[in-house]
Amino acid sequence: MHDLIIIGGGCAGLSAGIYSARYNIKTLIITKEMGGVLNEAHKVENWPGTRSISGLDLMMKMREHAEGLGVEFVDEEVQKAEKKGKVFTIHTGGKSYQSTALILAMGLKRRHLNVPGEEKFAGKGVSYCYTCDAAFFKNKVVGVVGGNDSAALAAILLSQYASRVYIIYRKDDIRAEPINKKAVEENDKIEVITGTNVVEVRGDKMLTTAILDKPYKGSKEFRLDGLFIEAGSVPSTIIAEQLGVKLNDNKMIIIDREKKTNVEGVYAAGDVTDTVMRQAITAAADGAIAALGAYQYIKKDKVDKY
């Protein structure tokens, strides 16, 4: 039995683990993918004290830090969470773990387009990680679906390899950070197609065509070799729902200033919550605050028992 189980090993979860270990509470982190979305961050250049570091390196350092303080890790996906009396039980594939308090830090998962052909051509032209896959598209034609900052960054990186890059965005104007938007506009290889959705992807063995909902240069069939999906992220909240944790309309976990949810003993931190900023530093801060809440809850629980 642990005092605290943290679900999620991204920035929020790891930071919570570091703080809880320093409060001397027996802590377990269960994580499907240590590092979370930061693993795909090519460079993090706004982590105070560090001018530039890869997202993965930053996460590795945090994990080592947590492990060094005695935090235990289980690298598995959580299947089910339940609360009986005052005890939480977390089930992974084959095992279960129990704790007095819980911090939910599952973060976000990539939004898929959910269009015909997407799943079939995943890894065969459809990609969800431009930093991983850009180099496979030398002298090819690629599309980027989305209009946020990562879509702009994807297009900029891809333009170093591909012969032509199209950003395909459903709204009228891309909303990347000004510095990245400017880089997109000034890049001869990149063209932005606005007000347009990809409704299907087709191909033979590999992806060859995206079907658009509006004709581009007279045709809804758009020839390309790669399609990078950068259409934002959605929270991973199945576990929260199993516990009866309240979510807002966007399915983000509702928390108070102390990162407490509506369920006693359940705290939440980072991107999975209804926060206003989704950055490494805010996730780390959330994790620290959630750890304090969990610590106080566990301490009180122990006093009540004896």
């Binding site: 996906e77 990609s127 969800y128």
Partner: protein
């Protein structure tokens, strides 16, 4: 673990093997590395484990139409039997590999 290139690839992939296609700049590949290493012990005697750096051996990546990494390809005598794309934790990966091998 042994890294393959176009000179030794055909020779080394005789029989049953699994090849990890990866690159230095790929975060999820680096996550998968230690998991792949652990699995190589579990499958000792059943499957040979190799790595291919897609930057250094881009011709092999091209031959197998690798467009997304990390990508694990299970092969029998150099012929693809199935592949797993993307990072996943050890037990989930094991279930996928077992599904391809049997």
């Amino acid at each position: 673990m042994e890294s393959l290139n176009s000179e030794n690839f055909d020779d080394r992939t005789k029989g049953m093997c699994i090849v990890d296609f990866w690159a230095e700049w790929c975060g999820p590949c680096k996550m998968l590395g230690p998991v792949f290493e652990q699995l190589s012990k579990d499958y000792k005697g059943k499957l040979n484990f190799f790595k291919v750096n897609t930057e250094e051996a881009s011709d092999i990546a091209e031959r197998f139409s690798v467009m997304s990494i990390p990508c694990l390809i299970v092969m029998k005598d150099g012929q693809e039997m199935g592949r797993v794309v993307g990072y996943m934790p050890k037990d989930s990966l094991k279930r996928k590999i077992d599904g391809i091998v049997k």
